[in-house]
């Protein structure tokens, strides 16, 4: 059991800046995110896209913003728990017991949900019949590539994951790459390589087709694909891989007894607390009259939520407002030498 002042769910810009604010006022926190890297939507959806509306930063990419936020909280040495997801929140004697998918447990008076629009999960095939093969022969990520050796593998998708794996697996498997259109969004060098492999018949490249059905008797045997014109083909397959990017799912957050308005959590704008004492929501996941889904709003929300957390983490102390420019206590926390 890890005891801490605050558990932050979500390592996007809002969660990171909230951590900074907690550090400034002398609280400890642990940050959980189900991605394998820090940065949330900024790093997953638009690492290279320029952002123009961060105050005092005329232009930066999602990745640069993330790196700067990580730099800013470095002095506090907070722990990140990546590739993990908070599954359960339980109240015990005015503390929250937080349990994750990987079996970690936290005891904390405060939980800050900075979960964006939920956790990222791979988009799955639209066809119901694929479900019974999920995790066995229908896969959305690859942990052990040796299982594909000498097997027939059908890969769906047109982005870098699909292309990279098609190229990689073509060394030792019979690969068919299926994509819904002729253009690919993967890196130009990979697209060129795929066309070469297709020209010399190392891989089968089928475009303007998508999945229709999978068939098998216990184990997967074949995949039926369809074109928009109604043509269909059946291809023998041992494995089917789908790389359609990530979608965001609210997931377990919906089961914690919090008020929900569509996919957002209503909060009180004084401290961004939800209907549950000690549970705060900030960033894209919270809603209130006038809510703007901007990173800068998330920063503001995180700063106020941090002060809200102080009350429960240090019930016997009075929170004192201080400026970073003037406070020697804050400078100590930041490790600034004067």
């Amino acid at each position: 059991m890890i005891k801490t002042d605050v558990v932050i769910i979500g390592a996007g810009p809002t969660g990171l800046f909230c951590a900074h604010q907690l550090g400034i006022i002398g609280l400890k926190c642990e940050i959980v995110d189900n991605l394998d890297k820090i940065g949330g939507q900024c790093i997953e959806l638009y690492p290279d896209k320029p952002i123009y509306d961060i105050p005092a930063v005329p232009e930066c990419t999602g990745e640069e913003l993330t790196n700067n936020l990580i730099e800013q909280i470095k002095p506090f040495n907070f722990n990140f728990h990546l590739s993990d997801r908070v599954q359960e929140l339980k109240n015990e004697k005015n503390k929250w017991i937080v349990k994750t998918l990987n079996g970690k447990q936290f005891e904390t008076p405060n939980v800050v949900i900075a979960g964006g629009v939920g956790s990222f999960e791979p988009r799955k095939f639209p066809t119901k019949s694929t479900e019974k093969y999920h995790g066995k022969s229908v896969l959305y990520s690859i942990k052990d590539k040796t299982i594909f050796k000498d097997k027939s593998v059908i890969i769906f998708g047109g982005g870098d994951s699909a292309l990279d794996w098609a190229i990689e697996l073509s060394n030792s498997s019979k690969v068919t790459l299926v994509h819904r259109r002729d253009e690919f969004r993967g890196a130009p060098a990979s697209v060129k390589k795929i066309k070469e492999l297709s020209d010399n018949k190392t891989i089968d490249l089928i475009t303007k087709y998508s999945i229709k059905d999978v068939k098998g008797n216990g184990s997967l045997e074949s995949v039926e694909i369809k074109s928009e014109l109604g043509e269909s083909k059946v291809i023998k397959a041992d494995y089917v891989l789908g790389f359609f990017g990530l979608i965001m799912q609210l997931g377990p957050i919906a089961e914690w007894g919090l008020n929900l308005d569509k996919k957002a959590i209503p909060v009180n704008t004084e401290n961004f607390e939800t209907n549950k004492k000690g549970i705060f929501a900030i960033g894209d996941i919270c809603t209130y009259p006038g809510k703007l889904k901007l990173i800068l709003s998330g920063f503001h929300e995180g700063a106020l939520a941090a002060r809200g957390c102080f009350k429960y983490a240090r019930p016997d102390e009075k929170y004192r407002f201080e400026f970073t420019t003037a406070s020697s206590t804050i400078k100590d926390r930041l490790g600034v030498k004067e």
Binding site: Q41, L45, Y46, K49, V117, R123, P126, G157, G158, G159, H179, R180, R181, E183, R185, S210, E228, F244, G245, L246, I247, M248, Q249, K263, D284, K293
Partner: protein
């Protein structure tokens, strides 16, 4: 202003007067029309405001896709050649009478 018709996958029809300058996605969200999620809020980065333009004439009449829209549509639920992201369809008088069909689901 344009009258936009939104048809859910189950056939339920909704009509909304959408002000010029808003996107077809915003027209749906502001009028509480179900079937369009718009998780990213219009940033062309999530593919959850995906619609079909079943009328070929209308499809051709719409402003062309900008770079990146098709890449995003690759990641949508059952994209077709008449798919668009409704956050990229900016309403003007020219769009009066447009009908969009929603996919079975967005995520």
């Amino acid at each position: 202003m344009a009258k936009i018709k939104y048809i859910e996958f189950n056939g339920t029809e909704h009509e909304a007067d959408v002000a010029n300058g808003l996107s077809v996605m915003e027209g749906a969200i502001q009028n509480d029309i179900p079937g369009i999620d718009a998780d990213c809020g219009g940033g062309m980065s999530c593919a959850t405001c995906h619609v079909y333009i079943n009328d070929d004439e209308w499809f051709k009449k719409l402003p062309e896709k900008e770079m990146g829209e098709d890449d995003m549509l690759d990641q949508a639920f059952e994209p077709k050649s008449n798919s668009r992201l409704s956050c990229q369809l900016i309403v003007s008088d020219d769009l009066d009478g447009l009908t969009v069909h929603m996919p079975e689901k967005q995520v």
